[in-house]
């Protein structure tokens, strides 16, 4: 089997597995899995930029929040139907990531991290500043009656899982396609050696800007999906913590591997779920995992698998 075939089989297999899990798992875990799938979309968006392009952003919460509020605010104030509101969430994320990318890509390395962090912080504070409309930290609930899409009530566990899986599958296939495409290959080239890529005639800045925008829109899709499926939008999703979480998921699962984000998100979700039943200081686990990963497994779980057993993993 060629590597392309293998990778297609792998991605189809993961989606089939997720469909099968719906019938096997008890209701509680199906609910969790829906959440994990939406968050994994966020992590996959992050992975495209961090894992494949080599740009470490500390401000992705801004894109997540742009999608979330792009959907939430329009549903709240203009009574848009979920599909149109979802579209406006994507557009919000597109605009925000284009602006941030255009500005932040003039820097590199540590400066890029700090610039993205600063933009995200400014975004978070802006949400607080307009607390009259956004309801700040408290957030607002999107009513059940409004979350009906084409006759399907997205608050039901089955509909919610199907919607989450649909969103995930689209983004998962898209990422799988992108990283195999010439565009994705040139992103990896930029990650590995930017100077050489430039010398070979690639328009590095354009490629990076595209990567930021795709990554931002995908994060925005996750934000909009989260608001729609779980019925809540709040400023906590714009905090630094939500910029660091996708980094953690991707690092844990394996940066630059398509299935890494899903593995990392699922693993971390259950780790935090379990530890928060023991202590309120559950972010301690996140801290310990981050330190251990930097020290011992910078490649992440899927990265280690690729290194040891399956070198063809995309």
């Amino acid at each position: 089997m060629t590597d392309t075939r293998r990778s297609q089989a792998l991605h189809a297999g993961v989606i089939l597995l997720l469909i099968a899990l719906f019938f096997v798992l008890p209701a509680y875990h199906v609910g969790n899995l829906a959440r994990i799938l939406v968050l994994a979309v966020y992590a996959m968006g992050y992975n495209l930029l961090f894992g494949y392009t080599g740009l470490l952003s500390l401000g992705h919460a801004l894109f997540f929040a742009a999608g979330m509020y792009g959907l939430g605010m329009t549903m709240q104030f203009f009574d848009l139907d979920p599909a149109t509101a979802f579209g406006s969430g994507l557009i919000a994320a597109l605009v925000v990531s284009a602006v941030v990318g255009f500005l932040a890509l003039r820097t590199s390395g540590v400066a890029f991290m700090i610039v993205t962090l600063m933009f995200a912080q400014a975004g978070y504070l802006t949400i607080l500043y307009f607390g009259e409309y956004t309801r700040g930290d408290e957030g607002f609930v999107i009513q059940q009656a409004e979350r009906v899409f084409a006759g399907f009530d997205l608050t039901g566990p089955t509909e919610r899982y199907v919607a989450a899986l649909l969103l995930f599958s689209v983004c998962f296939s898209l990422i799988a396609y992108i990283v195999q495409s010439p565009f994705g290959r040139s992103l990896v080239a930029i990650r590995e050696n930017e100077e050489r890529a430039k010398m070979l005639g690639y328009d590095v800045v354009r490629h990076k800007l595209k990567a930021v925008i795709i990554s931002g829109v995908m994060s925005g899709a996750a934000g909009a999906g989260y608001a729609l499926l779980f019925g809540y939008a709040g400023a906590t999703f714009a905090t630094v913590q939500y910029s660091i979480l996708p980094l953690l998921w991707v690092l844990l699962g394996g940066a630059g591997v398509t299935i890494g984000p899903l593995i990392g998100t699922a693993f971390m979700f259950y780790l935090i779920d379990y530890s928060s039943s023991i202590t309120t200081a559950y972010m301690l686990v996140a801290g310990v995992v981050l330190v251990l990963l930097t020290l011992f497994a910078p490649q992440g779980l899927a990265g280690e698998i690729r290194k040891r057993a399956l070198p063809w993993l995309p």
């Binding site: 820097t107 390395g109 600063m118 301690l284 990963l293 930097t294 020290l295």
Partner: protein, 308 residues
């Protein structure tokens, strides 16, 4: 009230912010200058300083002044030792790789913050100032609601607040003297300029790094001990100083110590003044956007030497 008294009061408050900020940002600046790494856990060292100050003052508890002096000596020392240990255990192991250091110190941030939550608890706790004489300067106090609460004349500033400014100046002068007049300072500056060459001349670079990391954290802790009688010790108090220190260090030029002090005064004063006339949130939005723009359009001011 007129514009004049408002402005005077705002400047005074701004000067206190600036004094604390100069100490905290100086710690970050030294670490970046010498080691070329960004310490994201810096704000947590600040928080730890405040928490240890509360703890020491609480344990001694005979007289506020005695507890305060003990805290001012002990907290930076303990935090410094802890930071040096973290440097040995984590940063040295990953060879001070810039990206991995950031991820590692983010982890450290959560470890320190959440351990404090587990032990110290979620409450904000005050430390008594050693002395607190009212001075009859007209005062204006702003709480959560920003500048809209207008108090009449009669409230004064306190002698402690003036002491904070004085103490910060003393500590920074001492630091300047160490950096420029002693052999320790010479070794640090040599490592900053060229660590390969310093190593060739027998400077134990790893040990210098551990010391510098400890010193940077100790400076943040010292700032926190000074601020804790005015604010309160709380496990989430590290966020704002971290962000403001970043801003100061970037505006001042990374690794430049005089630049850091000048930027701290500028940012502290303008933060104080803007917060009085506009909402504090708006002041922060403007400050973060300005910094992002400085980084975007004047990157040479940032990593001048590291990333030519």
């Amino acid at each position: 009230m007129d514009f004049g008294p408002h402005f005077l009061i705002a400047s005074l408050e701004g000067a206190i912010t600036a004094a604390i900020l100069a100490l905290t940002a100086m710690g970050l600046s030294i670490v970046f200058g010498v080691m070329r790494v960004v310490n994201v856990a810096h704000g947590e060292f600040y928080m730890l300083g405040a928490v240890i100050a509360w703890w020491v003052a609480h344990l001694i508890g005979i007289h506020p002044a005695l507890g305060f002096v003990a805290a001012l000596l002990l907290a930076p020392l303990l935090v410094g030792v802890l930071a040096a240990a973290a440097d040995k255990l984590i940063l040295q192991k990953i060879g001070y790789d810039p990206d991995r250091t950031i991820v590692g110190t983010i982890g450290l941030l959560y470890i320190i913050q959440q351990s404090t939550l587990m032990t110290f608890g979620p409450d904000a706790r005050p430390v008594q100032p050693p002395f607190n004489t009212r001075l009859s300067i007209p005062w204006f106090e702003f709480g959560d609601n920003g500048f809209e609460i207008i108090w009449p004349w009669g409230l004064g500033t306190t002698s402690y607040k003036l002491f904070v400014i004085f103490a910060a100046i003393v500590i920074l002068t001492g630091l300047w003297a160490v950096m420029t007049r002693t052999k320790i300072g010479l070794i640090m500056r040599a490592t900053q300029q060229d660590n390969e060459m310093a190593r060739a001349f027998g400077v134990p670079v790893e040990r210098v790094y551990a010391w510098v990391f400890g010193l940077g954290a100790a400076l943040a802790a010292a700032g926190a001990v000074l601020v804790v009688p005015i604010q309160q010790a709380h496990y989430l108090m590290g966020g704002d100083p971290l962000l403001l220190s970043f801003i100061v260090v970037i505006i001042g030029g990374l690794g430049s110590l005089p630049g850091t002090v000048i930027a701290a005064i500028f940012i502290g004063m303008s933060d104080g003044i803007i917060s009085v006339f506009f909402s504090p949130t708006l002041a922060k939005i403007i400050a973060t956007l300005v910094v992002a723009m400085v980084l975007v359009f004047r990157p040479q001011g940032l990593l001048g030497k590291a990333n030519p």
